[in-house]
């Protein structure tokens, strides 16, 4: 077995697993590199080995992932778990860490699906211990069966209600839901109602979740604004406004959420072309319907390609795999078109539905673009909005110039938690569209890489053999 593959897939979430299955089915040699110990991505995290006695409380959208994971485990695919990719070369060389060693393999075609991350929520006190994201609550629940009683859930977006409902089903107490979805969401989203009606089941599910939370007697504060976390050295509560009145609710733990955005450090480091997606208010790789990026041998699929959700990701993965087979000369143009058509149609209807969701749950500017000068924009380097403003006034009008002047974005998270904030702040300050501002220039490594590991690069290891992989 050589370390050169027809198709290398990065990320074993629904998009990556589907791409791998399609590619393997079509007869390609396929390797999948995934950072976690088990496949599934964030959405199907540990779905086949849940720590919970009854994983069905997590909902059918979760449990139905088991079938995909099982199919993925059985297919003729080189699976590499705990494989943390830190560099992808323009030639198709992939470098990844596994057991503190860098290993390497080479792809003729690359399909990358680094997934999504939660949108930064830069409000006063969001850096304090006790403040986490709603996504983290779900991760901890799925992977470790770990929960926190008496927390506040604050923000907007479907995931927020889902995790609260999951908590309640498991008997975990919830102090309050502070919902920042602004009034008039339905009116805003009405123009996309056609798209929503194509997926009535999802709409009904959303309403049922809210109803479930309401019936459990959890206080829900609707249309809340102006959030700030209370506390000096750790969270002691949340303050917010509702109908012109200031409220504060005590809690030593707060889960924040205002939707998800593509996790773009990998696609940015590759130099793939991106654009600012107005509808989703985030940077997104510029791709065609098959996920093909501006680099000929690289496709991007799943939520990293723009937030579409798990079901759409499965179709996107299949499409990218079909296109890769076509590029490899193993699938004719006619077969590509024919085998793609159902997936393309499905993608279209998910996109229409997403337009409705995006409009309904659009995160408000005040929770994306900090206005208070002492709010941290960059958590790692502890740069406040006021310090960034000072840097801007000293002439740093580009995200990279601002980074060089203030160290904002230079810390260990490599800009993941401040990049969008900085793009939007600079746009507001210059009264320009965000698309004119741009983003940090990112490079490999895409995560911290030990000097010790890098220094052994001279004797770089090939990918583990399949026998070692399955162990």
């Amino acid at each position: 077995m050589s370390d050169i593959f027809d198709i290398v897939i990065i990320g074993a979430g629904p998009a990556g697993m589907s791409a791998a299955l399609e590619a393997a089915q079509q007869g390609a040699s396929v390797a999948v590199l995934d950072r976690k110990a088990t496949p599934g991505g964030q959405i199907y995290r540990d779905v086949t080995q849940s720590p919970l006695l009854d994983p069905s409380v997590l909902g059918s959208e979760y449990t139905e992932g088991a079938e995909l994971v099982e199919a993925f485990m059985e297919a003729d695919i080189d699976r590499h778990q705990n494989a943390d990719v830190w560099h992808i070369g323009e030639t198709g060389e992939v470098l990844y860490s596994q057991d503190n060693q860098t290993r390497r393999l080479v792809a003729r075609e690359l399909i990358i699906s680094p997934g999504a991350m939660e949108r930064p929520f830069p409000i006063e006190g969001w850096h304090l211990p006790g403040v986490m994201t709603a996504g983290s609550a779900q991760v901890m629940l799925k992977s470790d069966g770990m929960v926190k009683d008496g927390a506040i859930f604050a923000g907007t977006g479907p995931l927020l209600y889902l995790i609260v409902a999951q908590y309640l089903r498991l008997g975990v107490t919830v102090n309050a839901v502070v919902d920042t979805t602004p009034a008039g969401g339905v009116v805003r989203a009405m123009q996309y109602i056609g798209g929503a009606l194509r997926k009535p089941a999802y709409l009904i599910k959303g309403l049922m979740l809210l109803n479930e939370i309401h019936r459990a007697g959890v206080p829900i504060f609707r249309h809340a604004s102006n959030l700030s976390v209370l506390g000096e050295s750790k969270s002691v509560g949340l303050q917010f406004e509702q109908d012109g009145r200031t409220h504060s609710v005590n809690a030593d733990h707060i889960f924040l959420h205002q939707g998800v955005i593509p996790n773009l450090n990998m696609t940015r480091a590759l130099g793939i072309e991106h654009h600012w997606a107005e509808q989703q208010l985030c940077w997104t790789p510029t791709l065609d319907d098959w996920g093909q990026s501006s680099i000929p041998h690289i496709a991007v699929v799943g939520d990293a390609a723009g937030i579409q959700g798990a079901e759409a990701a499965r179709h996107a993965g299949r499409l990218a795999a079909l296109k890769a087979m076509n590029k490899l000369g193993k699938l004719s143009e006619a077969s590509l078109q024919q085998q793609s058509s159902d997936h393309l149609r499905a993608m279209k209807s998910f996109k229409a539905f997403r337009s409705f969701l995006d409009a309904y749950y659009a995160p408000t500017p005040e929770h994306r673009i900090p206005a208070a000068s002492n709010t941290l924009a960059c958590r790692c380097e502890e740069q406040t909005m006021g310090q960034l403003r000072a840097g801007f006034e000293q002439g740093a009008k580009d995200p990279n110039a601002l980074k060089a002047l203030t160290r904002c974005g230079m810390g260990p998270c490599q800009g993941r938690q401040c990049g969008h904030t900085v793009s939007e702040l600079l746009a507001v300050w210059q009264n320009k569209p965000v698309s004119d501002i741009g983003y940090y220039r990112l490079r490999s490594p895409q995560r911290l890489l030990s000097v010790d590991e890098l220094s052994q690069f001279q004797n770089i290891k090939p990918a583990k053999k399949p026998a070692e992989v399955s162990a």
């Binding site: 919970l52 993941r416 911290l448």
Partner: protein, 109 residues
Amino acid sequence: MFRSLRKPETQSVSININGQMVQVAEGSSLWAAMALHGETQTRLALVSGQQRSAYCAMGVCFECLVEVNGVPNQQACLTTVEEGMHVCSQDLTEQSIAALHQKESADHE
């Protein structure tokens, strides 16, 4: 306090968290193991030295950096516990001074 809803039959491993030997479920993330034992402080803020704790639990915020087996800057949320693992909250800030290890120096005589 965080609590666990993990099914009872899970195997456990022992690890050392900030000097205390504890039993944790096999396959746990290091962050979960720490949090379930009340050790929620991961690192210090690099400039102000204030306490920090995990934020995203999925590898994108780098707030949960801890020292694992003497090596700092490991993401607790992405690390799986292993028998005998030694974990410490990380107290590194930009004011920290390196201790001079006589043994390390002696190794290079």
